[in-house]
C-alpha cells in the first residue's frame, strides 16, 4: 500500500500551534504595546525594566516560539486565502514556496534579533 507522505499534516500542525499561540498571546501584547502605551493610558515600562524582562532566557524562548509559529500560521492561512480569495490555485506551487519561504526567512530574522537581545 502506498502511504502518501504529504507535507500537508506538518504544515497544518504548525498552522494550528501558531493559531493557538497567536490567539493566547498576541491580543494582550498588541493591546499593551500597540494601543495602551502609545495612547498613554498607562505609562510604558522603563527601558531598564523592559530590558531586564527581555534578556531573560525564558522570555526569549517564548517570544522565539511565538514568532516562528505565528509566521507559519500566517504562511498557511495566507496561502489558502490566495488560493480561494483570488482564485489562484493554478499558481499553487509558487504561492506555497513564497509563503512558507517567507515564514522561514522571518524565523531566521527573528532568531537573530532575539539572540542579539541577550
Amino acid at each position: 500500500m502506498t502511504t502518501k507522505r504529504s507535507p500537508e499534516p506538518f504544515a497544518w500542525l504548525l498552522f494550528s500551534s501558531g493559531g493557538m499561540a497567536a490567539a493566547m498571546l498576541i491580543p494582550v501584547l498588541l493591546l499593551l504595546f500597540g494601543i495602551v502605551f502609545p495612547l498613554g493610558w498607562l505609562s510604558a515600562p522603563s527601558h531598564d525594566r523592559l530590558a531586564a524582562v527581555l534578556t531573560h532566557p525564558v522570555t526569549l524562548l517564548v517570544l522565539f516560539g511565538l514568532c516562528v509559529l505565528a509566521l507559519f500560521h500566517w504562511a498557511h492561512r495566507f496561502r489558502y486565502t490566495l488560493y480561494d480569495g483570488l482564485q489562484l490555485r493554478k499558481a499553487a506551487p509558487v504561492i506555497a514556496v513564497l509563503c512558507y519561504g517567507g515564514a522561514a526567512v522571518g524565523s531566521v530574522i527573528a532568531a537573530f534579533v532575539l539572540i542579539r537581545a541577550l
Partner: protein, 262 residues
C-alpha cells in the same frame, strides 16, 4: 371532510392569506444556453412548503417545470434547491417564512444544471465509494449467526454522521468545493468518519489515502458553511476538523515510529 382532505380538494381555503410570487430559475438546454427566470403567483398557505408551491406551479400553471422530490418529509434528500440564496430542502422550508416574497428558487449551487431545478450530482456519486462508506471487516469472517455487539456509548461516536441523507446542501454551501471541484467534500468525509468511528469497522487504513490527501481533508479551510446548511445536523465541518487531527497525529507517528510499531 377532514382538515387534511380539504387542502388537497379545494385550492383556496380560509387559511390562504393571499398569494406569493415565486421566481423560479429555468434552464431548457434545447432552447437556451443560460438559465432565465419565470415568475408565478401561488397561494400563500401557512402549511405550504416551497415544494408545495412548485407542485402547484407544475399542476396548475406550467407543466414543463422540472425538479426532483420524493418523500416530502426531509428524508429522501432529493428536493434540495437554493431558496433566496441559501441551500434548503424545499419540502421543509415554508413559503410563509419568505412572505411577502418574492421567493427565488434556483437549482443547488456548485453542481451542473441538467434542466430547470435539476442538478447533476454524478461527481459526488463517483467520489463517495472512494472513501468506502461501509463496514470494512478484517480477514476473519464471523461465524454464521454471530453478531457484532456494540454499546450505546460506542454508537454515540458515529451516530451523528449516520444521519446524512445525501442531500448535497453541504456541497452547495461550500466555497472550497466551488473553487476546487476535486475536493472530496463534506458529506463524503462525514460518511467516511461514520465508519471510521464505528467500533465494528476496520477500514481506517483503507480510507486514509483518500481522506488524508490534498483533495481530502487538507483542501478544507473550515469555512463552516456545510454544517450551517446541513438539515440533519450532521456537522460535516466538525467531522473534517476531527479527521485533520487524526491524520496529523498519524503522520507524526509515521515519521517517528518504525513501521512495525505503528
Amino acid at each position: 371532510m377532514s382538515e387534511t382532505d380539504d387542502k388537497h380538494a379545494v385550492p383556496d381555503m380560509p387559511d390562504t392569506t393571499g398569494t406569493i410570487t415565486m421566481e423560479v430559475a429555468r434552464f431548457r438546454p434545447d432552447r437556451e444556453s443560460e438559465p432565465s427566470w419565470d415568475s408565478y403567483d401561488v397561494p400563500l398557505r401557512k402549511e405550504w412548503a416551497v415544494l408545495d408551491g412548485l407542485n402547484h406551479i407544475k399542476d396548475q400553471l406550467d407543466g414543463t417545470l422540472s425538479y426532483r422530490w420524493s418523500c416530502r418529509m426531509g428524508i429522501c434528500g432529493s428536493c434540495g434547491m437554493t431558496v433566496n440564496g441559501e441551500p434548503k430542502l424545499t419540502c421543509s422550508t415554508f413559503l410563509t417564512d419568505y412572505a411577502p416574497g418574492p421567493v427565488r428558487v434556483e437549482p443547488l449551487a456548485n453542481f451542473p444544471v441538467i434542466r430547470d431545478l435539476v442538478v447533476d450530482i454524478e461527481d459526488f456519486m463517483a467520489k463517495l465509494p472512494t472513501v468506502k462508506p461501509w463496514l470494512v471487516s478484517g480477514d476473519e469472517e464471523p461465524a454464521e449467526d454471530s453478531e457484532y455487539r456494540q454499546t450505546p456509548a460506542e454508537m454515540d461516536d458515529y451516530r451523528r454522521y449516520s444521519m446524512c441523507i445525501n442531500c448535497m446542501l453541504c456541497y452547495s454551501a461550500c466555497p472550497v468545493y466551488a473553487l476546487d471541484p476535486d475536493f472530496i467534500g463534506p458529506a463524503a468525509i462525514a460518511l467516511a468518519q461514520r465508519y471510521n468511528l464505528d467500533s465494528r469497522d476496520e477500514g481506517n487504513e483503507d480510507r486514509r489515502d483518500v481522506l488524508a490527501s490534498a483533495e481530502g481533508v487538507w483542501a478544507c479551510t473550515f469555512v463552516g458553511e456545510c454544517s450551517v446548511a446541513c438539515p440533519k445536523d450532521v456537522d460535516p465541518a466538525g467531522a473534517i476538523q476531527r479527521y485533520k487531527l487524526t491524520a496529523a497525529t498519524q503522520a507524526v507517528k509515521d515519521l517517528l515510529l518504525p513501521r512495525g510499531a505503528r
